[in-house]
Amino acid sequence: MVSMETVFSAVALVAAPFAGGLLMGVDRKITARMQSRMGPPVLQPFYDVLKLWGKSPVITSRLQPILAFGYLGFSFLSVALLLFGGDLLSIVFTAALAEVCIVTVSMSAKSPYSYLGGRRELFCMLSTEPLMILSALSIYIVTRSFIVENVLTFEEPLLPLLPGAFIVTGIVLLIEMRKSPFDVSASSHAHQEIVRGVYTELSGYTMALVEVGHWIRTVLVLSIASIFWAPNILVGWGLALALLFMVILADNAFPRLSWQRMVKTSWALGFALIAANVLLLVVTGGATI
């Protein structure tokens, strides 16, 4: 017998890329308005991806299509794990696998821009992965479980207990969405010293796949952020969207920083916030270690 929840999760899984594309469109619109422009229509990301799908690709290495599919597939898998109540840690690792795919794509090409982009993407991974794991750990400390299903059924909202971990998720979102100040590996507008960075060698349908994968990853991080108000999914998503707005605001208020600065900032800020948060929990008796 298929339960209601399973059906809901399956629908959400199918809707995830569309939601991601829509969020990207809203992001581009808000960014444009912040720059006092009109901005593209909200459906613009879908036009872009459809067009890329129909364009004849330039395949520079044989690995490229497989890895592009891999990026999309693993991103999908991580969202699926989240929706079907999987393990937070395995979600983080699956997401990292997707990242490995795109790094391999860019490293396997001859272009120096792509190579440098891949290297910087590795540094992005180096900044985000520990923060994701720490975030998951701090959730574990409160709820005594890594399983999303158990976290969701935890009796009280997590945010008052874990404000630090929530901010850390915001930093992860900033890096994951490739927004200033941390858009070191690639940027949507390509006004950057390494042109399109990791995306340089992608074209046609491989680029479309990676673009959709990127949307899904954004949805993934936002859903993790929404867990912080687990009892009520609507409040949770409201929080996640507020985080998205803060990220867009940061994108427009900062220049791009160097990758060294990115690693330093994210580690220092991330570790400090999580440590302070855990300390607070112990002091207030919210959790026992």
Binding site: T31, L116, Q192, E193, I194, F254, P255, R256, W259
Partner: protein, 366 residues
């Protein structure tokens, strides 16, 4: 290629250009990178060379005004003005006083346009999209004044031999005044971003340092030299109406990217002030003296372009064609300095450092 045959220390070579979104113009800079640091730069130019100097000898000397104007689209008025000044000297043509003031107004307007363009492109090169957009939005004020003056947003085409071929009426002057006030207000609002914002400072302070002695040795000009503490400004030679105006060159001593940034930012305010002063002091009268002679002899003109010293050496031989028209542009003088300041910095600093000397390749190669 056999992997094992490679030396242990592999240097990556990055060809930066000729097509690159950070630089709208084609120049190739081949960077040798070692462990994310630039160890060598080889500039590779010639993508824009058109042979304007030769064409100046083939044309009628009056047509050259339009051609010289198109040496560079950004500072087009200054090129036309320098050429006209040279020909006026060779033909003993007196320029009316009002025309002199109008030339100063329009050349300062060019400088304003160029510096705002640069501030925007620089913001873009450090990945500050929104600042780029806001600066370019404010730049439209200058362009709309250009359009009202001469009917075109970029190429003013108002400079002619013997004066200027457009006059300003009362209405336009008041529009200029209100436009300058609006622009000043809007740029003042953005100025703290360049002065104080910590993230901008993080990208600019201490990057691409050019000490004063080195700048002198390499012959840097314009804001690149002024950012290194050299108070060099050709406007102090007092050409056109500059001798009647009151100003001091903007100088910063640090010699890094931030200093060059501040020099240009402060020159924006200086230009606004100069334009206002000119509009106040402008005398009435004709704007054009007809010239009936052919250029004869040789002369040298030096004027201050937004990027530095512009040098025209025009030789005539008493016919309608010139014997020689030699143009030396500021970016050419700044390329040795550019190559020097890039070495030793990170790959991520390449874009701001290259932008900091404001390379204008179409001037450089002509």
């Amino acid at each position: 290629m056999n992997e094992t045959e490679q030396p242990v220390e592999v240097n990556t070579v990055i060809p930066f250009g000729p097509q690159h979104p950070v630089l709208p113009e084609p120049i190739q800079l081949r960077f040798t990178i070692h462990q994310d640091k630039v160890v060598g730069v080889v500039p590779n130019i010639g993508y824009i060379h058109r042979g304007i100097e030769k064409a100046c000898e083939l044309n009628d000397y009056k047509k050259n005004v339009s051609l010289c104007e198109r040496v560079c689209g950004i500072c087009n008025f200054m090129h036309a003005m320098a050429y006209c000044e040279a020909v006026e000297e060779l033909t003993d043509t007196e320029v009316p006083d009002r025309a002199k003031y109008l030339r100063v107004v329009w050349s300062e307007l060019s400088r304003l346009q160029s510096h705002l363009l640069w501030l925007g492109l620089f913001a873009d090169s450090i990945g500050f999209e929104s600042l780029f957009m806001h600066i370019w939005r404010d730049r439209e004020i200058v362009l709309s004044l250009n359009e009202k003056t001469s009917g075109h947003r970029i190429h003013l085409s108002t400079c002619a031999i013997g004066g200027v071929n457009k006059d300003m009426d009362k209405g336009l002057i008041s529009e200029y005044k209100s436009g300058m006030e609006l622009l000043e207000r809007r740029i003042r609002e953005l100025a703290p971003v360049f002065y104080k914002d910590r993230s901008v400072k993080d990208r600019t302070v201490g990057k691409g340092v050019l000490p004063k002695k080195r700048a002198m040795l390499l012959g840097a000009v314009g804001p690149t030299a002024r950012g290194s503490g050299i108070p060099q400004d050709m406007r102090r030679l007092g050409y056109e109406a500059y001798s009647n105006l009151d100003f001091e060159p903007v100088v910063h001593d640090e010699g890094d990217v931030h200093a060059r940034l501040l020099v240009r930012l402060e020159e924006v305010f200086q230009s606004i002030r100069l334009i206002k002063e000119c509009l106040e002091k402008m005398p009435e009268g004709p704007v054009m003296n007809k010239n009936r002679r052919f250029p004869n002899g040789a002369t040298v003109v030096r004027i201050e372009q937004p990027r530095g010293e512009l040098f025209y050496n025009v030789m005539g031989n008493g016919t309608k064609r010139l014997r020689r028209c030699r143009i030396r542009t500021p970016t050419l003088a700044n390329i040795p300095a550019l190559v020097d300041i890039l070495v030793g910095y990170d790959v991520s600093d390449i874009a701001p450092i290259v932008m900091s000397v404001d390379p204008c390749i179409s001037c450089t190669e002509r």
